[in-house]
Amino acid sequence: MSGEAVERHTITVLVNNEAGVLARVIGLFSGRGYNIESLTVAEVDPAARTSRITIVTSGTPAVIEQIEAQLNRVVPVRKVTNWTAEKAGIEREMALIKVAGTGEKRMEALRMADAFRARAVDTTHTSFVFEITGAPSKIDSFIELMRPLGLVDVSRTGVAAISRGPEAM
């Protein structure tokens, strides 16, 4: 089962919000040698006490299949959905990006931000903090463009994902 190409997959895990559940899910990844490229977690339904963990991971198709199967074994896990395999998900990420500089670079950063529909949420004479939302690849591009313009700090949320259409996951 080797020799297959490595793919990136976005997987959402709906779990009972109880102590240790995140550690159990994450421990599974580290213990079995799976990658985590990003991780997003928050309680989503306080009444039902459920949390939603979204993980961007990479591996060969066989590894991805194992990851899903292993996640399904975890006792407090309610549901596992692989958005990449199902091709029916919307994936978004938010980032806060700090750029410092003056003069033409500063103006260029502002113009780029406008083109990317990023918002300045903090402004000083020598810096901006931009808020940008989009697919991870869009955020990657924006960060690359900011690099020569005085990029000083990046904070990303990791991916949140949801299905298209009227159904819940």
Binding site: N16, A69, V75
Partner: protein, 596 residues
């Protein structure tokens, strides 16, 4: 999604909800779960539970000498009865000492409920005396675990723990209870009122998959059943169904180490164990088959040999209760996620209903007979030295009229026992398969004997392994458990020595057991019986003496120190590249050395 995610309360029958202390709840829950025996060791953080236990009739507590012993004893108890094993230990070192046993149970899918005391809630996180992050440490080695922070959650948690340990793919669970919770009073809920929010194991087979499996089986020209511990875990019904399926189809059958006893070794379809030290016929049948029907096994690396060369021409059917096992190691044409007993019974029923006939298997059996003719378990006996194989053969022969349960430690003796002791029934063979825990067999025998007081319980041991948990002889004495520790004493960590001989130029680095105790005197010091055999001539007499003694026995069987365990698949080799004897001189590849 569930509409009600809190626990489902039973109709408010009068008296259904008791008010108890946390400690009393533990005892009440054990009682409601039908627990009659627990294995444990007291300490500061479990004293309230021990106090409740002191006043509680009907539950026998077995005081071990080390917490690892408690867990292995519980494993032996569980594996020989089909019931969950229960362990009670204290915080800190009590919990960490239990970790090896818990990991062992996870690897071999043994249902255990481990209850640990924890420091009081307000001290958690302060590096208090005998504090450790028990749920953190045991998270990767339990099926699930809980730290109970509210006494009103305790009974629900305990009942869930039993449910999770014993259903689906069984395994160990752990409930960590801070000392203040043990003292606090709260509402106790009986088991029937508790339902888990997300845990719903799938046990019913998909009828379409069963129908397809039957079609594939009916079309196979060189089929083989490859069975494992899942059959044992599924219960006696699974073994019964398996026997019927083999009889109906006439297919040959082999088993993993963990599955021995599910199918009777005396039947003509039986090929013996497969894998690294399996028989020539079992491994060659696996290699050459056109249909491999895996029932409750998991394609472990000791079974497959080199995966790329594993059973190259076969289609595979894989039945497992754990979906993550399907396609984990080898690709499968047909995966069936279900309980083994249900799925196999369904195969039997569909085979009969469709009046299926197996393909003519005469050629396949003729081929198997030529492999059998190699007599891969043969060994050169000696007049002067006790060969370990001979010792196991004699032990087997002289116990035929007894109700025998066998446990083992880990190493050469374990493989000789697996190869040569023939099992006719499930639940008679207790060994550490996945984790390979030296020191498993003696405490496991304690647990087995407790569950089967009149049976002959023998730990086939090695002198190195047995010293790891030797202190549990005291436990056997205390509870009057007449276990027999049959030590194949070759003065070496035999399997280590064997690999050093084959892979490391005979440089026996630290594998010689220097400064061995005198096991006969040691037995006497413990208050049990010590026996020793040094020649083949005296062996039978001493074995009969051991069987006749109704007390625990340490039997020091001095065997040929240089004997190796054959046949073997060198790591990194394929099933059909076995070494049958020392004269074969098989070469181990560099890649293979890594896999040892």
């Amino acid at each position: 999604m569930d509409k009600d995610n809190t626990l489902t309360a039973a109709p408010a029958a009068a008296g259904a909800h008791l008010t108890l202390s946390g400690a009393e709840m533990v005892i009440q829950a054990l009682r409601d779960q039908g627990v009659s025996h627990i294995f444990g060791y007291p300490g500061g953080a479990v004293l309230p539970i021990y106090d409740a236990l002191f006043k509680a009739p009907g539950i026998t507590h077995v005081l071990v000498r080390h917490e690892q012993g408690a867990v292995h004893a519980a494993e032996g108890y569980a594996r020989s009865t089909g019931k969950p094993g229960v362990v009670l230990v204290t915080s800190g070192p009590g919990a960490t000492n239990a970790v090896t046993g818990i990991t062992d149970a996870l690897m071999d899918s043994i249902p255990l409920v481990v209850i640990t005391g924890q420091v009081p809630s307000h001290l958690i996180g302060t590096d208090a005396f005998q504090e450790c992050d028990t749920v953190g440490i045991t998270r990767p080695c339990t099926k699930n675990n809980w730290l109970v922070r509210d006494v009103n959650e305790l009974s629900r948690t305990l009942h869930e723990a039993f449910q999770i340990a014993t259903t689906g793919r069984p395994g160990p669970v752990l409930v960590d209870i801070p000392k203040d919770i043990q003292f606090q009073k709260g509402v106790y809920l009986p088991p029937a009122s508790v339902q888990h929010r997300s845990y719903k194991p799938k046990t019913d087979p998909d009828p379409g998959a069963i129908a397809r499996a039957v079609e594939m089986m009916a079309a196979a020209k060189r089929p083989v059943f490859y069975t494992g511990g899942g059959i044992i875990n599924s219960g006696p019904e699974a073994s019964k169904a398996l026997r019927e399926l083999v009889e109906l189809t006439g297919f040959p059958i082999t088993s993993t180490l963990m599955g021995l006893g599910a199918f009777p070794a005396s039947r003509p379809e039986w090929l013996g164990m497969l894998g690294m030290h399996g028989t020539w016929e079992a491994n060659n049948a696996m290699h050459d088959c056109d249909l491999l029907i895996c029932l409750g096994a998991r394609f472990d690396d000791r079974v497959t040999g080199r995966v790329a060369a594993f059973s190259p021409g076969s289609k595979r059917i894989h039945l497992d209760i754990d979906a993550s096992q399907i396609n984990k190691v080898v690709r499968t044409e047909l995966g069936i996620v279900a309980d083994a007993a249900k799925a196999i019974a369904e195969m039997v029923q569909v085979w009969k209903a469709k009046k299926k006939q197996a393909q003519p298997l005469k050629e396949w059996w003729a081929q198997i007979d030529t492999w059998r003719a190699r007599k891969s378990l043969a060994f050169k006996n000696s007049d002067t030295l006790i060969k370990p194989q001979y010792a196991v053969d004699r032990l087997y022969a002289l116990t035929r009229d007894k109700d025998v349960y066998i446990t083992t430690e880990v190493g050469q003796h374990q493989m000789w026992a697996a190869q040569r002791f023939k099992f006719e029934q499930p639940n008679r063979w207790m060994t550490s398969g996945g984790l390979g825990t030296m020191g498993y067999g003696l405490p496991a025998a304690v647990g087995v004997q407790l569950a089967h007081p009149d049976a002959l319980v023998i730990d086939i041991a090695g002198e190195a392994s047995v010293q790891m948990t030797m202190q549990e002889m005291s436990t056997a004495i205390q509870y009057d458990l007449p276990i027999k520790i049959f030590i194949l004493n070759n003065e070496y960590m035999g399997m280590v020595r064997q690999w050093q001989e084959l892979l490391h130029g005979g440089r026996y680095s630290h594998s010689y057991s220097e400064a061995l105790p005198d096991f006969v005197k040691l037995a006497e010091a413990f208050g049990c019986v010590g026996l020793r055999a040094t020649t083949p001539q005296e062996l039978d007499g001493k074995i009969l003496e051991m069987i006749a003694v109704k007390r625990p026995v340490l039997f020091d069987c001095r065997v040929d120190p240089m004997e190796n365990c054959y046949p073997m698949i060198p790591s990194g080799a394929a099933h059909n590249e076995m070494i049958l004897s020392p004269d074969d001189g098989g070469e181990v590849s560099e890649a293979g050395k890594m896999l040892v």
